[in-house]
């Protein structure tokens, strides 16, 4: 008989070490293969073949890249500040890899010695831990740019920090609605409340979802927000002077941030490891692993199983991969913003929208609670209706009559060139 108690003692130590090793190894593996995925997907989008020489389908390309970067000569610019130049790649690498520790990746796994939670550290501050470490990532970027003593690198570093600080505000404010819904900051509880609601937060909080995705793109410095490494203006921005494994560290951290941000978006808005239906619901409530509450408020015990853990992990992996693919897809589809457009979008559109939306959702939650609607599907539907209206308004405002009205609208927007002063012709 499998025990349904939380694991403890020596077994806790053993499972913990295993979890850390396996999850960390998995993240690094995913990072390595996402570099290959990016090149293959971009090739696919551009009707090329992409790297396909090393191993079957090019699957050993990340290994070849790793060996190449280890063996290449490392250059140290003579005018660079040596200590900071070496420190900067470490400062970007560590935050991008440790944030994964608080993200639950599957349903709890029952073993003969107790139930193992599929999360490295279920810290009580959950999402704040992620925010804390991602706010430290900016140091590596700025220091790398500054220590290189190269004006393009420096400009890239400054742009990166301004952009990351600006979009952190919108990111945090769009998170507030999720925290209001879940009533706690731990990611296990965020997943649990989505299971209880009967729908993923992407529907009742659709506008927050959109704002969060946009901010996450800006936070990870990916196109269309890759101003810090805009190659047509800044060579490659803050890592211009870096070579070999130090350059590789910047790349790994960029992809590490992408993996973490994708997993975070999947957890916050697509239910994390939750799969549709209530068969996989599980949450620690007063020392018991429960599945939900009956009508009169009595806890119903969950029955975890290893196949549920495997299936939910596959669900989580699929959701995370979807966002990874979205990152790559958008990078090879959209052109880059101008820098002033990035700042205007961040401060004049995202920030006010996120604030107004937090107010709106707060009031709707208050009204629903006052009316006495139970936390469940109808609660979610009411919020979905309100959020859908807000999202439609937001998209209509951003669109400014270009895509939604379509070609008919385009023909009305005649471009007047009479205002542009023509250069005087010679001889007048």
């Amino acid at each position: 008989m499998e025990s349904l108690q939380p694991i403890s003692g020596l077994w806790l130590l053993i499972t913990m070490s295993l979890k850390v090793t396996i999850i960390f190894g998995l993240v690094v593996l995913v990072v390595a293969y996402s570099t290959l995925a990016e090149r293959r997907v971009s090739a696919w989008i551009q009707d090329r073949r992409g790297p396909n020489r090393v191993g079957p389908f090019g699957l050993l390309q990340p290994v070849a890249d790793g060996i190449k970067n280890l063996l290449k000569e490392e250059t140290l610019p003579s005018t660079a500040s040596r200590a900071f130049f070496v420190l900067a790649p470490m400062f970007v690498l560590v935050p991008s890899l440790v944030t994964f520790a608080v993200i639950p990746i599957a349903a709890p796994l029952p073993t003969p010695v107790g139930v193992v939670d599929m999360i490295i550290a279920d810290v009580p501050i959950g999402i704040l831990y992620v925010l804390a470490f991602s706010s430290l990532a900016v140091y590596g970027v700025v220091l790398g740019g500054w220590a290189s003593n190269n004006k393009y690198a420096f400009l890239g570093g400054l742009r990166a920090s301004a952009q990351m600080v600006s979009y952190e505000v919108a990111l945090g404010l769009s998170l507030i609605t999720v925290l209001m819904m879940s009533g706690n900051v731990t990611l296990t509880e965020v997943v649990w409340q989505q299971q209880q609601l009967g729908m993923w937060f992407a529907f009742p909080l659709s506008l927050a979802f959109i704002l969060f995705v946009i901010s996450a793109f800006a936070e990870t410095n990916r196109l269309p927000f890759d101003m810090p490494e805009a190659e047509s203006e800044l060579v490659t921005g803050y890592h211009t002077e870096y070579s070999a494994m130090k350059f590789s560290a910047f790349m790994i951290s960029e992809f590490g941030h992408m993996v973490t941000a994708s997993a975070l978006m999947a957890t916050l808005f697509l239910g994390g490891w939750d799969l549709p239906g209530t068969w996989d619901d599980a949450f620690w409530h007063e020392g018991q692993l429960i599945k939900g509450f009956s009508q009169d408020g009595v806890a119903v015990l969950a029955n975890p199983a290893w196949w549920k853990t495997v299936l939910t992990f596959c669900g989580f992996a699929a959701k995370t991969s979807f966002f990874m693919l979205l990152y790559i897809w958008i990078r090879w589809t959209l052109p880059r913003f101008r820098y002033d457009q990035v700042m205007a979008l961040g401060w004049k559109v995202m920030l006010p929208t996120a604030l107004a939306y937090a107010m709106l959702i707060g009031s709707v939650i208050l009204v629903l609670d006052e009316v006495g609607i139970r936390w469940g599907f109808s609660y979610g539907l009411a919020l979905t209706a309100v959020s859908g209206a807000a999202t439609a308004g937001f998209i209509f405002f951003l669109d400014r009559g270009r895509t939604i009205i379509g070609a008919a609208g385009q023909s009305r927007q005649k471009v007047s060139i009479s205002g542009i002063s023509q250069p005087a012709t010679a001889g007048d």
Partner: protein
């Protein structure tokens, strides 16, 4: 284990604080400051004040120190101004402040146990049990102390508006 971790964090915090003073370049000072703030956050975690630890890193290390870094880099300090803060009067003042601090600390260390602290610890445990890590701070902040909290907010707003007005004056 916790005791060992405490000494590690305390050593890093003290070393970082010394580094802030001794570092040759302002950017070095700043990074030592970040190390100090980070290990203070670690000590907060050891005290089970998780929320304070997170806020310490997000606000101080992640936001305020980044602004410091910005200012240092934009002004390109650290070439001609190194002597400025090391004048005689300043040294005297810092010795007086440090002496006073050491006195207060020595007085507390000398006492065997502090009943107020023990009672406070029990109250905090009860609040943590009832409201959770974030709620234990949020509950008093938005109920008992909501007026001082709002006034602080207004004070910060006034400071921001004032800074903007001063910055706009020149142009």
């Amino acid at each position: 284990m916790i005791e060992v971790l405490f000494y590690v964090f305390a050593a890093v915090a003290l070393g970082g604080a010394l580094g802030v003073v001794w570092a040759k370049s302002p950017v070095g000072s700043l990074l030592f400051m970040v190390a100090t703030l980070g290990s203070l956050a670690g000590i907060f975690v050891l005290l089970e004040a998780h929320f304070l630890a997170a806020i310490q890193v997000i606000v101080y290390a992640g936001a305020i120190m980044v602004l410091f870094l910005f200012v240092i880099m934009l002004l390109n300090l650290g070439h001609d101004y190194q002597r400025d803060l090391k004048g005689g009067a300043f040294a005297l003042l810092s010795f007086v402040v440090v002496g006073l601090m050491a006195g207060v600390l020595a007085r507390q260390v000398g006492r065997d146990s502090i009943p107020e602290l023990a009672a406070g610890g029990q109250a905090i445990d009860a609040a943590l049990e009832q409201h959770g890590v974030v709620g234990a701070i949020a509950q008093p902040l938005y109920t008992t102390y909501v007026v001082p909290f709002e006034i602080t907010g207004i004070l910060l707003l006034v400071a921001i508006v004032g800074a903007l007005v001063l910055a706009k004056k020149g142009s």
